[in-house]
Amino acid sequence: MFNEAKAEPIWLGFRIELRRNSSYYPFPKKATPLQREQLFGVLSDIVYQSNSFQSPLKLEFEALSPQERSFIYEHYYLEQNEETAGLGAIVDTEGTKACIINNTDHVQLVSITNLLQFHSDWNQMLLLEKNIGEHLPFAFSQQFGFLTAQLPACGTGLSLVSYLHVPLIFRNDEVQKQLFEKELPKDLSISLTDENSCSHILCVETKHAMGFSEDQMITSLMTFCSKIKAEEERLRSLFQTNELDALQDTLGRAYGLLKHSHKLDPNEARQALSSIKLGLNLGLISGITDEQINTLIFTVRRAHLSLNHPTSSSDIDKARAEYLHKSINSISLNF
């Protein structure tokens, strides 16, 4: 997922989402399956002709198995829908870009990117959006901006999420209070899902699509996340000096868990992987790259695991433990 190019140890990456709707059709919930099918056909033709995606792949949700659908939802952080008729996605083979027609919007462009590629991927997304808009005029009003089925999403139609691995901020209530209560800009919010909290991944997201320009939204997110990153770096250097013993103990336990467990639930696995990632970044662990650890954090999730590593074991926790045994085989502790 965030394993492309050179990984930034703390700032893992971004999810950019742009919602658009055509003025020719009712929004997906009110459209007939036939209308949605027509739209999906037009949309995929545009994406294929635009060369925006590397080896694009057209996926009709109705034709996918429930397992494959779950994978797509999990991978691109999409809302799960029961309704599938006429809906689908065009994805690139790298798994970083998608153009989706879902239950709420005609066009949902998603890009999973990292800090170094953010601007180039954002510009590519705008280029594709412009291309789609030339063939399929967007529903737009001067007053409400780009129109979407869900009112909070209209305006820019843009939503940004930034993912940061900040295990030491998660341990420090005082810093959390300062950052999340006092310094958090009003146009951003912190999302703490169980899944991400276990792996100490902080999700900072834009709160409003209306009232700001796209650039203001990007700048606000970038500036605040830089602050978080700097704070985590400060805590890391303090921690390494003052609490080396505790750190080594945590790393040893995490390593033991990943190496020898018979069963591992996703949260346990992600928590241990987070500790390994911290140890690796602080030079206390070797034999694995940051990119590989990032990949593991995301691929131990249920749908990724069952699709990428089909196993005879019906017990997914057992399959997860086996997968991790193999994946961390080369790790060694440097203390």
């Binding site: 050179k6 930034e8 700032w11 709707n21 003025s23 059709y25 009712p26 929004f27 919930k29 009110k30 709420t104 800090l115 170094l116 953010f118 601007h119 954002w122 510009n123 705008l126 412009k130 808009g133 030339e134 005029p137 967007f138 529903a139 737009f140 009003s141 001067q142 007053q143 409400f144 901006g145 780009f146 129109l147 089925a149 869900q150 009112l151 909070p152 209209c154 305006g155 820019t156 843009l158 009003k186 146009d187 709160k207 409003h208 209306m210 009232g211 700001f212 320009s213 796209e214 650039d215 203001q216 990007i218 700048t219 970038m222 500036t223 830089s226 990153k229």
Partner: protein, 136 residues
């Protein structure tokens, strides 16, 4: 209070021409059939025409619900004609702001230094300096 005041008429038992709130909620979009009651309850509309049909109610929703930040909501209350949308228009080209580009480059710089790629670090530093100078 004027002679035709609907509230006075109502009190005097003469009825009113203005639909009550619940009657207004039954107004539907002719294109997709979505009613105002649905919009108010779910914050969702059925098609782009709904934005025209329910324009005033949608503006009020934006003022009363946390769909925009407090500052923007205050501006809207002070000036109802204040535009809600602050972003780009279809097909409009926008350049990335210098500040967000500087944040991005600073992070690229720290990565280049971490990897001891000093040649790349120097070129990133020059780019940052150029941007800072052009921003002054």
């Amino acid at each position: 209070m004027c002679e035709g005041c609907p509230y006075l008429n109502e009190r005097l038992g003469k009825g009113s021409d203005i639909p009550s709130f619940s009657e207004k909620e039954n107004v539907c979009c002719v294109e997709c059939g979505t009613s105002l009651a649905e919009v108010l309850e779910t914050s969702e509309v059925g098609c782009s025409s709904c934005y025209q049909v329910f324009q005033d109610s949608i503006r009020s929703l934006f003022q009363s619900k946390p769909f925009i930040n407090e500052e923007k909501a205050r501006l809207l209350t002070a000036n109802p004609a204040h535009p809600l949308h602050g972003g780009r228009k279809p097909a409009e080209e926008v350049e990335a702001s210098i500040s967000s580009r500087i944040v991005e480059l600073n992070n690229a710089l720290s990565l280049a230094i971490r990897d001891e790629n000093y040649e790349q670090a120097a070129s990133i530093r020059d780019e940052i300096n150029n941007l800072m100078n052009s921003n002054e």
